[in-house]
Symmetry: C2
Subunit: 79 residues, 2 copies
């Protein structure tokens, strides 16, 4: 069982890396309105009930994987 977690900076937090990439894309001629960069984390878990896995992934995010002050996350599970 695998969890795919996307960690993004909250809307109110400046993202200098995203701003730099946006500038780079514009210099290459692409008409982009905004770029935000976050982390993509894939966690391989033992097989278990979906409910249990969701609970575990939320715990892992809140304890280790994200900084709740500046980041937020979404995830999906694949059996």
């Amino acid at each position: 069982m695998k969890a795919y977690i996307d960690v993004t900076l909250k809307e109110s937090i400046l993202d200098p890396q995203g701003a730099a990439v946006k500038e780079g894309l514009i210099k290459l001629g692409y008409d982009v309105e905004g770029v935000r960069i976050g982390k993509h984390i894939e966690v391989e878990l033992m097989d278990m009930e979906i409910n249990e896995a969701e609970k575990l992934i939320r715990e892992m995010c809140e304890k280790l994987l994200i900084n709740p002050v500046i980041e937020t996350y979404t995830f999906r599970l694949e059996v």
Copy 2:
């Protein structure tokens, strides 16, 4: 229109950051089998045809956003 791009290291490439996070999760008592860490990129585009947007995103990935030697990517578009 928004593109959500997940950039991951190819399977054959070592991921020390992922290995460190895996150790961290195991130390916290979580039974994880593997962790891989990549980038999650959100690009805001002008509205356009889906086909055209897919082509643009692929170009952006290959020209700037990913390193094709060690990374691979998937994306989805949201109108």
